[in-house]
């Protein structure tokens, strides 16, 4: 079972399709076919339940506010974009401000995580240095440390540094490779790369920096993509950090904080507008999922977290 711990190679597509073909050739008894139909019905039902809330929110955001709860179906009657028009400007600033703020924080976090985590990962995967095992164990333990024990002193330090009400407390930790989860993910990936490559380069007189930038980095692209997409989703969704460090500075609110402000100000009345802005806030996540699904699935399958 231990090899599960390190295996990264996904089953090749050819192997799969060969197996499918074998299945297809076998004559299927009627009993089995009935079972298979039942399974599909179960799965379709489950899929509908899972996805219904999301579709409902999308459809509702495109209907007049007063109709949403009277007829909670998925009917597209009285199609309107008024919720979006109203919601966009309902708070002190256009909703786009919050989107841009979230983009800035996400971009900074992605850049930080990708650069610093892959540097650290290279050291752990390829270099020999003092206390490596202990440091590696500490790195793994920090993944499991609950954030609560750190926030009070962190908050105090950021406040003494005059960084409250800026993006720094949200971005700075990422520039220092504190998302140890990604260090671990990248270590796993680098270990899977053939050592002969960098040993050959070493013999040819390449230093570790050239090996890292010219040999490892290009091969690391899939794992870096996983890191970037996960960082994006987690940063975009992060509510606690923004609440802690950006409260009171409305011009710096992230999308999550903007939505929260919405909940406060509209006094639970204009749900059409809240739904509309909620849908807007989820679109980037959906796009990341749509285009990055391959990397996300490989990422969680190989590291087993989240």
């Amino acid at each position: 079972m231990t090899d599960l711990a390190t295996t990264t190679a996904p089953t090749s597509p050819r192997e799969l399709s060969a197996e499918d073909r074998r299945h297809a050739k076998r004559p299927v008894p009627t009993g089995q076919r009935v079972k298979s139909v039942i399974k599909h019905i179960l799965l379709v039902a489950a899929a509908c339940v899972m996805i219904y809330p999301l579709i409902w929110m999308l459809v509702s955001s495109l209907r007049p506010g007063d109709l949403i709860f009277r007829t909670p179906g998925l009917v597209f009657d009285n199609f309107t974009t008024e919720n979006y028009e109203y919601g966009w400007d309902a708070l002190g600033r256009p909703f786009g401000t919050y989107m841009i703020n979230s983009v800035i924080v996400s971009a900074g976090s992605i850049l930080g995580n990708v650069v610093t985590c892959s540097l650290a990962a290279y050291a752990f995967a390829r270099l020999r240095f003092t206390a490596k095992n202990i440091l590696f164990a500490i790195m793994l333990l920090t993944i499991m440390l609950p954030f609560h024990v750190l926030i009070v002193p962190q908050y105090i330090v950021f406040s003494k540094l005059g960084m409250l009400g800026t993006f720094w407390p949200l971005i700075l930790p990422k520039l220092l490779a504190t998302d140890a989860f990604f260090v671990f993910l990248l270590v796993q990936f680098i270990r899977g790369l053939p050592r002969e490559l960098d040993e050959a380069a070493l013999i040819d007189g390449c230093g570790h920096f050239r090996i890292f930038f010219n040999i490892i980095m290009p091969l690391l692209v899939p794992a870096i993509a996983t890191t970037a997409i996960f960082t994006f989703i987690w940063t975009w969704n992060d509510f606690f950090g923004s609440l802690l460090y950006l409260s009171g500075r409305e011009e710096l609110y992230t999308v999550q904080l903007g939505l929260r402000a919405f909940q406060d100000s509209s006094g639970l009345t204009n749900w059409g507008a809240i739904f509309a802005m909620s849908v807007l806030s989820l679109i980037p996540i959906f796009l990341a999922f749509l285009f990055g699904q391959r990397f996300l699935i490989r990422g969680i399958a190989t590291t087993g977290i989240k």
Binding site: M1, L4, M144, V149, Y155, F239, L244, F275, L296
Partner: protein, 310 residues
């Protein structure tokens, strides 16, 4: 497979340290982060937990174990422990069981696997966002989706019933949200199921074992290390839930503290009401103790049901 597995496999022993200087450069950001963002705050919060530190007050006194003693007499703290434990102990097993069940179903050479996988996975990427928490208040709130449908079917009397406003059901709605995000453990289980050699199943069916026996005798033992590590990580994660409870209760943990998650109470104590950061630190450390006990207990119990074939 997981960070925990890796941790178990680290071996001691001497090795050459030929790259010290280079390693220092590669590790520089991480080491600075480890010290400045993790280790020093970690020690600082332990020290603070023995004081009455407040960001706004100039005088800080050393209190000894007073904060910890106060905690044991704090009814709201125990309420938050009760809420959090209920949430963790009920919703995590449900979430993992669903993830495992669907993964096993999908793994049986299902047509349309990528489609189902996507549909089940998507919610787990959105589950921690404010948008979904807001949506949840409209699904389970007064005149929300669930009440409206149930009232139309005549199961409840009025669509004005709020599942979130009722102290008996408010927590359950947040648990349902957690179970709804079963997609990511499902992906991990799917990856694990693929590693089980199909000849085991073929041999078993030649010997006349049915699907049910195959599941309990082959799938479960071989998957048990993955289930175990998922259990540990999901429990640690669930203990730290914040956003959903905050949004659903409007930041209060209400109604009547029925959704007062531990994280929420720490936040309220340290950053909202009287900014009692010393006391909040003591509570945070108590959480570390609880999580450690749970993890240790899990490891201890694992020898009865987790199967390692090496």
């Amino acid at each position: 497979m997981s960070a925990l597995m890796e941790l178990k496999n680290i071996k001691g022993g001497k090795q050459e340290n030929t790259d010290n200087k280079v390693a220092l450069v590669f590790l520089a950001p991480w080491i600075i982060g480890l010290l400045a963002i993790t280790m020093i705050p970690l020690i600082a919060s332990l020290v603070l937990s023995f004081t009455n530190y407040r960001l706004t007050s100039r005088r800080t006194e050393f209190l000894g174990i007073e904060n910890y003693a106060r905690m044991f007499a704090d009814d709201r703290m125990w309420q938050s422990i009760k809420v959090t434990l209920t949430y963790v102990l009920v919703s995590t097993p449900f979430q993992l069981a669903l993830a495992l069940g669907i993964a096993v179903l999908l793994n049986q050479g299902m047509k349309g696997l990528p489609f189902y996988r996507s549909v089940f996975y998507l919610p787990s990427l959105m589950g921690s966002s404010v948008a979904i928490a807001l949506l949840w208040t409209r699904i389970f709130g007064a005149q929300g989706l669930v009440s409206t449908i149930l009232a139309k079917l005549g199961i409840i009397e009025s669509p004005d019933y709020s599942w979130m406003g009722d102290t008996r059901t408010a927590l359950i709605t947040i648990m349902i949200l957690h179970v709804w995000t079963f997609g990511s453990p499902m992906i991990i289980f799917l990856a694990g199921l693929r590693q089980i050699p199909s000849m085991y199943y073929e041999a078993a069916s030649v010997d006349g074992a049915g699907k049910w026996i195959q599941f309990w005798r082959i799938t479960m033992p071989l998957l048990s290390p993955i289930i175990f590590f998922n259990l540990i990580l999901q429990i640690i994660g669930a203990f730290q839930s914040f956003t959903q409870a905050y949004i659903v209760s409007g930041g209060t943990g209400g109604p009547v503290d029925s959704t007062l998650f531990y994280s929420l109470y720490i936040y309220e104590t340290g950053f909202v009401n009287k900014l009692e950061m010393g006391y909040a630190s003591a509570m945070a450390w108590f959480l570390v103790v609880i999580i450690t006990i749970f993890t240790a207990a899990n490891f201890y119990l694992s020898k009865y049901w987790v199967f390692y074939d090496d």
